[in-house]
Symmetry: C2
């Protein structure tokens, strides 16, 4: 139900974000602090993201598996950087029934350690590789910072891809494929653009040799990390003895990658597309794509309702259509309610439309109205879904592009970070010292080193120290 007090997105983004999520019924709070309930609209969107991503994984030869939720403490400790990264936020199971367990069990924050411990036994020879596994599951990271629905949640859903190769070359080749899959899903289903690039050593995943990400721009000018991909090199392979008899007849250690997309994307989707009226759902992820709202009085009620239902029945089953014939609310109330819920297309039908055999269609993304003859409605709706999707993507892309500021001086960088908001793209020497000092002085981290700026660092000098630039880096405040 719409809350009278919801702030404007442009005035108070974070309050707008939480209240629009709750008011629209997309999620609800739960009795467990920092963990939300996925109501039908949000879970439906996640299911679609899972299914389309999974189909692309399967096409690429990746197979799904399922490993235990619990990881014995001694296993989690096997890779030093990994455990240091995760143990501060592990939820620990210590008792079962009334018995104390001999060893504490971590509720998985990620599954490297338990997967590699077992998979090591499956690999004997180079013929057993590559072994490309994935699982869709829930993980727990007990963050002590302020939790935010989807964006920083103590439990979230994700895919965790874990792949094992005989050679570094093969492992490296996978990167472009997987980031490409994520980019496709973001663009074609969530209508979200992003910036692909490499994380700095300081920002990489705990236990990885190199991390890569797709970064999103949020409406408050901050950046948030989306799907990621990690080259783990032989670190875990050595810790878990993932070795094999190579073609040469010698024992070799494997090379590994991991990658993930999570329910955080639902939060980015809401944040980027929503407006002061509520959610704006990308049509392919909307549980209800088209809502039909009959407008009637006591005399024409039966005829208008019949007309509404006949329209629904005339549409093919690939469209998800709902007729809101609830008597308790007025059409005006319903318009607001379905706008708040972000349903992409509203159809209004009353006596006038019945007589002319037409319907009024209203787009959620632009609020444009038009009248359409009922016989061409099916075609029009299918076309409109594509048009709305494309418009949402292009709109978000323009916003992103207009917030990438190519800066030449540290003063400009500070101005972008502290005043304009968004991303300051600048040459960087590659040294942690400069990265750290910029962070301390401006609050901006390097979100990533964007792929599409590779080469542009040539002949440039570091924005901070003035030494030769090794990379072009995106500086921004980050979630």
């Amino acid at each position: 139900m719409p809350s009278q007090k919801r702030p404007k997105k442009s005035e108070n983004f974070s309050e707008w974000y939480t209240s629009v999520l709750i008011d629209s019924g997309f999620v609800d709070y739960s009795p467990v602090s920092g963990i939300i309930v996925f109501r039908p609209d949000s879970y439906f969107a996640w299911e679609k993201i899972r299914d389309v991503t999974d189909a692309l994984f399967k096409k690429s030869g990746i197979q799904n598996v399922y490993f235990p939720l619990f990881i014995p403490e001694h296993l989690l400790e096997k890779e030093k950087e990994h455990v240091e990264g995760f143990s501060p936020e592990v939820a620990w199971v210590t008792h079962a029934g009334s018995s104390k367990l001999d060893e504490r069990l971590a509720v998985r924050p990620t599954s490297e350690t338990i997967m590699y411990d077992v998979a090591a036994g499956w690999i004997k020879s180079w013929r057993d590789l590559p072994l490309r596994m994935n699982q869709w599951n829930n993980v727990v990271r007990w963050e002590f910072r302020h939790p935010t629905p989807f964006l920083r949640s103590r439990e979230f859903l994700w895919n965790e891809g874990h792949t094992i190769f005989a050679t570094k070359e093969e492992a490296d080749l996978e990167r472009e494929e997987i980031l490409g899959i994520y980019e496709t899903v973001l663009k074609d289903y969530l209508a979200l653009p992003g910036i692909k690039g490499k994380k700095t050593d300081n920002e990489k995943f705990a236990g990885a040799e190199a991390s890569y990400s797709i970064e999103h721009l949020m409406p408050d000018g901050w950046v948030i990390q989306g799907p990621d991909f990690h080259n783990d090199g032989q670190r875990f392979a050595k810790a878990f003895n993932i070795s094999f008899l190579g073609k040469s007849g010698k024992k070799e250690y494997a090379y590994q990658n991991t990658f993930a997309i999570s329910t955080r994307e639902l939060g980015v989707m809401v944040a980027v597309h929503g407006d002061d009226r509520g959610l704006v759902l990308p049509p392919k992820l909307a549980r209800v794509q088209v809502v039909i709202i009959p407008i009637y009085n006591d005399e024409n009620k039966e005829a208008v309702l019949k007309y509404s239902k006949s329209i629904k029945e005339s549409l093919d089953s690939n469209l998800r259509v709902f007729v809101d014939d609830n008597d308790a609310y007025s059409p005006g109330w319903k318009f607001n309610e379905w706008e708040l819920r972000g349903v992409p297309i509203r159809i209004e039908v009353g006596e006038k439309e019945l007589k002319s055999q037409t319907a009024v269609i209203v787009r959620r993304d632009t609020l444009e109205k038009k009248e359409i003859a009922v016989h061409s409605l099916g075609n029009e709706l299918h076309k409109l879904i594509d048009v709305i999707h494309a418009n949402m993507y292009e709109r978000a892309k323009k916003v992103l592009e207009s917030h990438i500021h190519i800066v030449d001086s540290y003063k400009q960088l500070i101005n972008v970070i502290k005043k304009e908001g968004g991303i300051a793209q600048a040459p960087w020497c590659g040294n942690y010292d400069c990265e750290r000092k910029i962070k301390e002085e401006t609050g901006a981290k390097i979100s990533n080193l964007p792929f599409d700026a590779i080469g542009k660092e040539k002949g440039k000098t570091c924005i901070y120290c003035g030494n030769e630039a090794k990379h072009i880096a995106n500086f921004a405040r980050s979630y």
Copy 2:
């Protein structure tokens, strides 16, 4: 890899069961006692079961949601019988990072309490009902009895349906629909028959008013509970204040149901269909439905491999086909390996088949061989998949039917339970005393009161006490 020492199914079922699961690569042990790893073949089968069941749920109007993994201790305690049933096997989270939590969190053994606590806030009026929710997730029940892969596992995957109605009549009507969905999935995908019926009060779900189940017969003559459905009446509604303004304008409590199908079914599927050569997978759940094994020598290798691959490419993409061109193993070794893994159809091709443009097909369920012209292979394989499925179902059904013994005397009942194995179907007075004494004396529980025997109790007397029979009951040893 085949183990030389695997016992015969008929001689030592439980050892056969575990070793066939591990040897075939269907599952593996994990470092967490009592929890297995789902390898690709088992997870694929579960995914299919999930997807086909989910499609039927969605068609029926049920919506998926996702609630937190953790349940605060005070919530779990709200319904007395429910907490008594589950608390002895709850895994407790007591710490996060290095901090002790203020309240212990149960890793969900089932989600009634957390779902109803939240959903109570979503229901104001009769117009908000029915609310039919479902979630596909993982649950933990820390059983202290001997764990068995799939059949009794400390973590398992399932659906938990939770539906809320305004009236008892509507809640009751859902039972037939849901049990029908489960029966369809079991029959059409797992090729498993079952016995639908009502559980006795003593055997019902903790917190339910009445429970219903589909029971399976295992090869050792014991019975195991499959999918179930529970009428919860108003018990949880009263404990969690799920009330609404009725049409009459008065506050009323809702009526609720819950229902589930779990990964236990994968164990039943393996147990019922497998044989001394290994798994026999129902074709619709097999990740690889058809394996092509080329038979070649050094001279014809290239031609035979090319022929094998051309056969795969000629088949349509609705068939899941794999060419095993691994050089390291002989064709004979591969025949054994793929039989062990339960792949429904094997195609053998060598020089002879290449010359005659034919292929030899071998059915896993019967081991029958036949030669087929390559041009009709696609059609034949699709037909064969249906034939194999039907044969597996009919075979299992015959075994089930031949193990249901209608008995007239307690002596016969004892004979069935202790000697013949299987189910003794007998009239019962409905009193717990007789149920308990039969259990104590024979080890047999009432698995359920089968729907298809309703009415047959008329004029009969209880097999134990001789009083008037109220039901026909299926007595059997139970997992």
